[in-house]
């Protein structure tokens, strides 16, 4: 049984994190939060970056599926 594709897990985790942070950044950012981070809406920007990361991994996993081009023999046991 072959191992599942890690790239999809990374895409999933950062997709969820990204969306949550973007929602917080848009809808639930107080002036106090902004002041803490020097006026930067850090939740929004970090969230966008995470969504992009998730998209990159999802695209990579889709375009180059795992094991598609592996034709090598499994290693022999000792």
């Amino acid at each position: 049984m072959r191992l599942f594709d890690l790239r999809l897990i990374i895409a999933f985790l950062f997709g969820v994190y990204g969306v949550v942070l973007v929602v917080i950044g848009f809808g639930f950012t107080t002036d106090e939060d902004l002041k803490k981070a020097e006026g930067v809406n850090i939740n929004l920007w970090a969230g966008i970056a995470m969504v992009v990361l998730a998209a990159v991994f999802a695209a990579w996993a889709t375009l180059r599926p795992q094991f598609a081009d592996t034709d090598k023999e499994p290693l022999k046991e000792l």
Binding site: M1, R2, L3, F4, L6, I9, I10, F12, L13, F14, V16, Y17, V20, L21, I24, G25, F28, T29, T30, E32, D33, L34, K36, A37, E38, V40, I42, N43, W45, A46, A49, M50, L53, Q66, D69, T70, D71, K72, P74, L75, E77, L78
Partner: protein
């Protein structure tokens, strides 16, 4: 071990932060459950069936080293010593990682050994093997315990959970996914952890940089301008004379300590051994070297920034200790001051993730050495593979239980420095180990007796130097502050090991050539050391030598920029 001082570091974590943390735990355990389906033999469990792609093993290679003790320690060094801290990442890691990939991996992977101690057994026989296997296994348990204890102290300071609760919860989570999915689950989680740590540190660095006025702001505000350049790092080494300081860095840190650590530490090498081909195994440490070279940007720079913008940290730097903070508190203080809820939860998750991955690396390398090198070699030979798979799983449970025990011992010692000493001592064992390996790989005349005698002689040298230079032992014959003593101890241990091994080899009998194929350079045909260049290993950008040259060039350029 005073990881965190008495200061109040309590973070204002809200429900959303806990929710993000919880999501991470669910994914981590999910990886364990899913990885279980791919485990059908002991090799699957203990070495991922040698099936992983190079980018996965490469990131896991670096992540296994990016434990939270390292994170806290290196941000602290950044605050205390400034740019000189980059030596731990550049000269103290990159050359050794490239060397492991290009020079040593052909023997480790090509000989099909399942662990570093097993290489020792095949090359030098049982006495050297037993010394190596037992000391490694003991060290991993103790270090796992130290990691657990450190984790609990930080959770207590940040979130107010009692020590026993965090020790047990963290150990149970690690236990759950490593027992289920074995090394595959540990490695997959290490890769995930790498990204979470970056996601935690990058926003912290960016907000910090904006607050301090960018790189220009740092240059203007740092009062001791020497801290803006990497060389000669006299403060870091504790060696006053700049030339000797540079020599100490290059030979002590850059050669002996770093080659010893990166090339013989099975917790690291195991990640490369689980790669799916010789090419992928060679590329593993080299791919890991790229993030290693770049990550100081989000570890050391926040440290420098903290010393400028966190009031307590600036006071400490000016010599005023009244606020009760220590340099190790850099990350929690920055998180407290700069991150709003939401991203704060990610940062907490990153810290926790890095602790757990550290413990998982210890546990997953321990169970392999225990199962193959101790149980199979000395206790129950020739059982069917399912038997050893079961032993591997039980060893994982045992390791976690023992690590919890060690963590509680550390806690009952009041977080005493004893655990720190133990960790320092084991780090010295690496230098003689590297000497023995490198001599054994390139000199076929080196005998089995020389293997274990040299190792013991080198190790005792390291312990001796440590004992006479550590102030708290009261027999301080050598006075070397900073890192000087460990550079000297490791350097001498290396030399003594080489000299003793050479002398003993001349008067004892070597192994016949027929038993050394694949283990010694001159007796391994070139094609056995070469890697395939077809299929998944094709393409110039997958050439280990080219990638290795690239990261060495990158590091050199970085040194020029931050000289």
């Amino acid at each position: 071990m005073s990881i965190l001082a008495e200061a109040d570091l309590r973070l204002d974590a809200g429900p959303i932060d806990y929710a993000l943390l919880l999501i991470y735990f669910v994914v981590v355990l999910g990886i364990g459950v899913m990885a279980r389906r791919s485990v059908s033999s002991s090799l699957d469990f203990l070495l991922s069936g040698r099936s992983l792609p190079a980018w996965v093993t490469g990131l896991a290679f670096i992540s296994a080293n990016l434990g939270a003790l390292e994170l806290m320690g290196m941000t602290a060094n950044g605050a205390q010593y400034g740019m000189a801290t980059v030596h731990y990442y550049w000269i103290g890691a990159i050359p050794a990682m490239v060397f492991l990939g290009l020079v040593m991996m052909p023997f480790y992977y090509g000989s099909k050994v399942r662990s570093v101690p097993e290489f020792m057994r095949r090359r030098f026989g049982k006495p050297a093997h037993l010394v190596n296997a037992i000391s490694f296994a003991v060290a991993q348990i103790l270090i796992a315990g130290i990691n657990l204890f450190a984790l609990a102290v930080i959770i207590d300071a940040l979130l107010g959970w009692p020590l026993p609760v965090s020790i047990c919860v963290a150990a149970l989570v690690v236990l759950a996914y490593t027992t289920l999915g074995g090394l595959s689950a540990a490695i997959y989680n290490e890769v995930l952890q790498f990204f979470v740590i970056v996601a935690a540190l990058a926003p912290l660095t960016i907000v910090g940089l904006i607050k301090v006025g960018g790189w220009q702001g740092i240059v203007e505000k740092v009062t001791d301008k020497e801290q803006l350049s990497a060389w000669p790092a006299t403060e870091l080494t504790g060696i006053e004379h700049p030339v000797w300081s540079v020599i100490g860095l290059v030979f002590g840190l850059g050669f002996v300590l770093s080659f010893g650590y990166w090339t013989t530490n099975f917790a690291e090498v195991q990640r490369a051994m689980s790669a799916k081909s010789m090419s992928a195994a060679k590329r593993t440490p080299i791919i890991g070297a790229y993030p290693k070279a770049l990550i100081p940007a989000i570890i050391i720079i926040p440290g420098i920034i903290a010393a400028l913008i966190v009031p307590e940290m600036a006071q400490l730097k000016a010599g005023d200790t009244s606020s009760g903070v220590a340099y190790n508190d850099v990350l929690p203080l920055l998180m407290r001051d700069l991150l709003p809820n939401g991203i704060l939860g990610i940062a907490i998750t990153g810290l926790l993730a890095s602790f757990m991955a550290g413990v998982a690396a210890n546990v997953s390398s321990f169970n392999t050495v225990f199962t193959y090198d101790l149980w199979q070699d000395y206790i129950k030979k020739d059982r069917p593979d399912e038997y050893y798979l079961r032993v591997g799983r039980l060893a994982t449970v045992g390791a976690c239980v023992l690590a919890i025990g060690t963590a509680f011992i550390a806690a009952s010692l009041g977080g005493s420095n004893i655990m720190d000493y133990i960790q320092a001592l084991f780090s010295f064992f690496n230098a003689p180990l590297f000497a023995t390996f490198i001599l054994g790989m390139f000199w076929k005349r080196m005998t089995p007796t020389a293997g274990w005698v040299g190792l013991l002689a080198g190790t005792f040298t390291a312990i001796f130097i440590y004992a006479i230079s550590e102030p708290s032992f009261g027999i301080e014959l050598l006075e070397l502050p900073g890192q000087g003593a460990s550079f000297l101890g490791a350097g001498l241990a290396f030399v003594v090991d080489i000299v003793v091994s050479f002398a003993v080899s001349l008067v004892t009998r070597p192994k016949p050539d027929s038993e050394l194929g694949g283990l010694v350079y001159s007796l391994t045909p070139k094609e056995d050391r070469a890697h395939s260049t077809t299929g998944d290993d094709a393409g110039w950008y997958r050439s280990p030598a080219l990638l290795g040259g690239g990261v060495l060039a990158l590091t050199t350029v970085l040194y020029f920029i931050f000289a």
